[in-house]
């Protein structure tokens, strides 16, 4: 596992701040992650974890700071959500958001890496390779049996897996994963951990998580957020030994 410091940086967020109606949700936050790195982001409610993800994915514009992406240091702040997603940033939401009215196959097909422009999509037809890829992803997340079912019929945990599957089908370079283990059994959590660790071998993966046990199992560098900025960064043991971290987060 790369430490990120010396390795090629994939995402470089520096000095971003954003306030909503005077409340500073993000305050001079800087963050960077390497090309193949697993990172856990923890912090109490309201620490700015979701806002941070919103900024990286283009949903929220910061008041100041910069978000640079990839070897060309592309400025992501000038791009919209769809363009950022196409650049290679995939996001999994805390609450599983799949298209409930459509089959698991359709959900995965939609996520599958392909042209996104209306005209191209209109004449796009699933080939044998696409079908094989969908099956492969479905097997990876244990939904191969559920392919023809409507996503709305799936259980909460299965929806989580479907969303992870959609993320995989997108083939992003950076995966932003918000509370992946919520609503999963112990066995499923272990499976998720294994999957995330495996992905981090050739992807950048940011996991936002509340569950400390889960973070411990990820065994990676941890960034602690508090009141919109980075409070501590390092191994889990390092940050949990930090006095300020204990005070604001763990001590409660």
């Amino acid at each position: 596992m790369s430490t990120g410091a010396g390795a090629a940086t994939l995402l470089e967020v520096s000095g971003i701040s954003v306030s909503f109606d005077g409340f500073k949700a993000i305050n001079n936050l800087s963050f960077s992650i390497g090309r193949a790195e697993l990172r856990a982001v923890i912090g109490p409610n309201g620490a700015g974890k979701t806002t941070f993800m919103d900024i990286v994915t283009g949903k929220t514009r910061p008041d100041e700071g910069s978000v640079l992406w990839g070897p060309m240091s592309t400025n992501l702040l000038k791009r919209n959500e769809a363009q950022i997603a196409r650049a290679g940033i995939g996001r999994k939401f805390q609450k599983p958001t799949v298209f409930e009215d459509q089959s698991v196959t359709d959900n995965l097909m939609m996520a599958l890496k392909a042209h996104r422009a209306p005209w191209r999509v209109l004449f796009w037809r699933a080939g044998a390779r696409d079908a094989a890829r969908v099956r492969e992803v479905a097997e990876q997340v244990g939904l191969a049996e559920q392919l023809p079912r409507k996503a709305g019929e799936l259980s909460h945990g299965q929806k989580q897996w479907l969303e992870i599957g959609m993320l995989l089908a997108q083939e992003p370079q950076l995966l932003l994963v918000d509370e992946p283990a919520a609503g999963m059994t112990l066995a499923e959590r272990e499976q998720t951990t294994a999957l995330l660790v495996a992905l981090a071998r050739d992807h950048a993966v940011v996991v936002v998580e509340h569950d400390m046990e889960f973070v411990r199992r990820l065994d990676c560098k941890v960034t602690v957020l508090h009141e919109g900025s980075v409070l501590a960064e390092g191994s889990l043991d390092h940050v949990t030994a930090d006095k300020r971290v204990i005070e604001v987060y763990l001590g409660r």
Partner: protein, 407 residues
């Protein structure tokens, strides 16, 4: 068409078969080709109804599938009617002018002036406005049927979607557009004869046939356009494009995070459906015979939404069923042939009470049968939608413990 399209969409084949049978039966019972059991005015009503079914399909695409509740699609319908109406009126007036001139030679300019006087005398003018420049050319006006509403939709949609106006605000905006267009056309200065509108459209220039025949031909043309519109729409919604637009309807932000340019999709669907609506209008008004700005009042577009809701949105045949059923029942009730309902203390006159009945059934369908009339098809086909939802179990019990996961 890709192989397997029909097998994946059995409703298309059913629809085409029913439409063909319908057209054939009407033709064989008409005055022109049969015993005349069905009157020519009834043939016209049915032909017009098919055009309304076509615009209902457009509405279903934009609202039922993409989730944009447009209350302005009748503006495009009307514009399409105006574009073809200009040619119909110009050519017919030219025939009259030339006939009355007899052998007396007239220059091109004199003919144009005479046509201008004929058409615009009613609003106190005699000059042909600039927008009538191409009125003498059928190909040009047919092109305008597609281009004018298409461009209006493109510009309007681009401005609205780019600013991410959604939901009820967008509905209000589309309604404002319709109202503005209708009010503009009400003015004599608009160059389309103000509130008089265009009339005499049922007479097709250069066509020697009588109304008995031409009404049946228009029925065929309407049926053909409806069939084409249905197959095209079914092809669009059955593929990945359909997946994406239904995704936009259900969760627009999520589709964005998958990398799809949502605004582009909305603009595409909005413009395409505007063009379909315009074509429907261009077929409708020659059968109606007259078009005036009142046709484009916001209420017409609201009715359109009601048809689609009653028929069942999100299904193409639902939209067709809704438009057909409601407009046929509507013309039956408002035709004054339904016997009054004496209640003793009050007599229900259906001409007045029909709208109340329609409003009531709209509320009832929305509340009790969200699938609308198309739900009846499910009953016939024994399609039961699976029970969804179920209670999510807590994180520790996990997914497979859930009731529905066991089945």
């Amino acid at each position: 068409m890709k192989p397997g399209f029909l097998s994946k969409n059995p409703s298309v084949l059913w629809f085409l078969a029913i439409l063909a049978c319908f057209t054939l039966v009407i033709t064989l019972l008409s005055h022109a080709y049969g015993p005349g059991v069905i009157s020519t005015s009834m043939v016209k009503t049915l032909g017009k109804t098919l055009c309304l079914c076509l615009i209902a399909i457009a509405m279903d695409l934009v609202w039922g599938y993409t989730g944009i509740l447009s209350l302005g699609h009748f503006a495009f319908f009307g514009l399409g009617g105006y574009m073809i109406g200009m040619w119909l009126m110009y050519e017919r007036t030219r025939d009259i002018v030339l006939a009355s001139a007899g052998d007396f030679p007239m220059t091109q300019q004199e003919v144009r002036d005479a046509i201008g006087t004929q058409i615009f005398g009613v609003v106190g003018g005699s000059d042909l406005p600039a927008i009538w420049t191409f009125a003498g050319s059928l190909p040009m006006q047919l092109l305008f049927v597609v281009l004018v509403p298409g461009l209006l939709a493109l510009i309007f949609g681009w401005l609205a979607f780019r600013s991410r106006v959604t939901g009820v605000y967008l509905s209000i905006l589309t309604q404002a557009m319709t109202l503005a267009l209708s009010l503009y056309l009400f003015q004599n200065e608009s160059g389309l004869r103000g509130n008089n509108g265009l009339s005499g459209l049922q007479n097709i220039p250069g066509l020697a046939a009588d109304q008995d025949h031409s009404s049946v031909w228009f029925l065929w043309a309407s049926a053909f356009a409806l069939a084409l519109g249905y197959v095209l729409s079914a092809a669009i919604v059955s593929g990945k494009f359909g997946s994406v637009i239904r995704g936009i309807r259900d969760d627009e932000a999520r589709v964005r995070f998958l990398g799809y340019p949502v605004e582009g999709y909305k603009l595409f669907v909005f413009t395409l459906t505007a063009v379909i609506a315009a074509i429907a209008g261009a077929l409708y008004y020659p059968q109606a015979g007259i078009i005036n700005p009142g046709e484009m009042a916001p209420i017409a577009s609201i009715y359109l939404a009601v048809w689609v809701a009653i028929g069942g949105r999100g299904r193409l045949y639902g939209a067709v069923m809704g438009a057909f059923f409601v407009s046929i029942v509507s013309s039956w009730f408002t035709g004054g042939r339904v016997p009054d309902l004496p209640l003793g203390f009050y007599t229900v006159k259906w001409v007045d009470w029909w709208q109340v009945l329609l409003g009531l059934s709209f509320v009832l369908v929305t509340l009790l049968a969200p699938k609308g009339l198309s739900g009846l098809v499910d009953l016939l086909a024994h399609i039961r939608s699976p029970r969804r939802g179920g209670t999510p179990m807590g994180p520790d019990q996990g997914s497979l413990q859930q009731e529905e996961a066991r089945e």
